[in-house]
């Protein structure tokens, strides 16, 4: 930790900027949700905003913007496995790629299973 005090002062200014941006983005995402966009668009927008916010936190509060290579390596690895993990729902749902008939809950389908 050899940063000079000047550096830190600069950091602090950045933190404040980030804080303000995060607030603004929070307001934006709530505001957008009031508009009741169609679900796919709403999801995309919400995710994009969340990713921006998340990146701000990660890059500046967590100093990822200037981290050592090793940490990046760990995170890249994590990201790869995270992607595999997010494939789970698709695989579960479409296990049979259409060969299953998924039985619908009684409320939705008149003929209840069994």
């Amino acid at each position: 930790m050899t940063d000079h005090a000047v550096d830190i002062d600069k950091h602090v200014r950045i933190y404040i900027t980030v804080f303000v941006s995060l607030m603004v983005l929070t307001v934006i995402t709530v505001a957008i949700s009031r508009v009741h966009l169609p679900v796919p668009i709403a999801v995309t927008v919400a995710l994009v905003v969340a990713i921006i916010k998340g990146s701000l936190v990660a890059c500046y509060f967590m100093h990822l913007i200037s981290e050592k290579k090793l940490i990046y390596a760990v995170l890249v690895l994590t990201a790869a496995f995270f992607v595999a993990l997010l494939a789970l729902p698709t695989l579960t749902q479409r296990n049979g790629y259409g060969i299953h008939e998924i039985e619908h809950p009684p409320a939705a389908a008149p003929a209840t299973p069994h």
Binding site: I102, E103, A111
Partner: protein, 263 residues
Amino acid sequence: MTEWLGMPPLAAAHGGQIDSLIGWIHVFMLVLFVGWGGFFLYAIIRFRRSRNPVADYAGVRSHRSTYLEIGVAVVEAVLLIGFAIPLWAARVDDIPPESQALVVQVTGEQFAWNVRYAGPDGVFGKTDLKLVDLQSNPLGVDRDDPAGKDDVVTLNQLFLPVNKPIIVKLRSKDVIHSFGVPEFRVKQDAVPGLTIPIWFVPTITTAEMRTRLSNPEFQYEIACAQLCGLGHARMRGFVTVQTAEEFDKWLQERVAELADPFK
């Protein structure tokens, strides 16, 4: 050619391919094991300390083993692309049209197999959880539904005509079971919430199998393969493969019984 594997007698059309693939894989495994094993045994005997007191720093200099490894990879690739993937595709993609097949619904429950035929109309009637009665109506078939009137339901007895494609629609009432008939080389989990079709063509009637094996007691058995609770070991069903005429007769009798339960 696959008798040496000790698998149960084969009685379904697609099973031959599975058996010979299993056979070839085991030949491949055996070759690898004997090859590597031979080298291994020779090496530990030849290079024991009393025979070879000074070790050789470099050991094997050639890199022929790399070719061997590539060879293993190639054989695996052939098995995979040439056989395994297309054969599986035939299982799940080429299900025959329901019009040309016999469709049976098999529903697992702790610890029994409920079998349902659509009856003469070829349509399964509605079911309702509220109608379920473990003794008289385990599937909750709605007998007031015209399509359901003639649905034939049996317990642990699956009757099938020989040489006709059979589509089994598997479902489960409670936990996961697995529908396995060793002689047919079929096995499929019955997952609650899903209806999963599998298909096969039985090729040998029960009667014929009895003569072939000279075992008058022979029965095809449905063996539950997935742990489903304390009765898992006893969750056994039977398959009776008959000629088409025998089967039709059997089905008609059951339908008649439905129409007049007191007969």
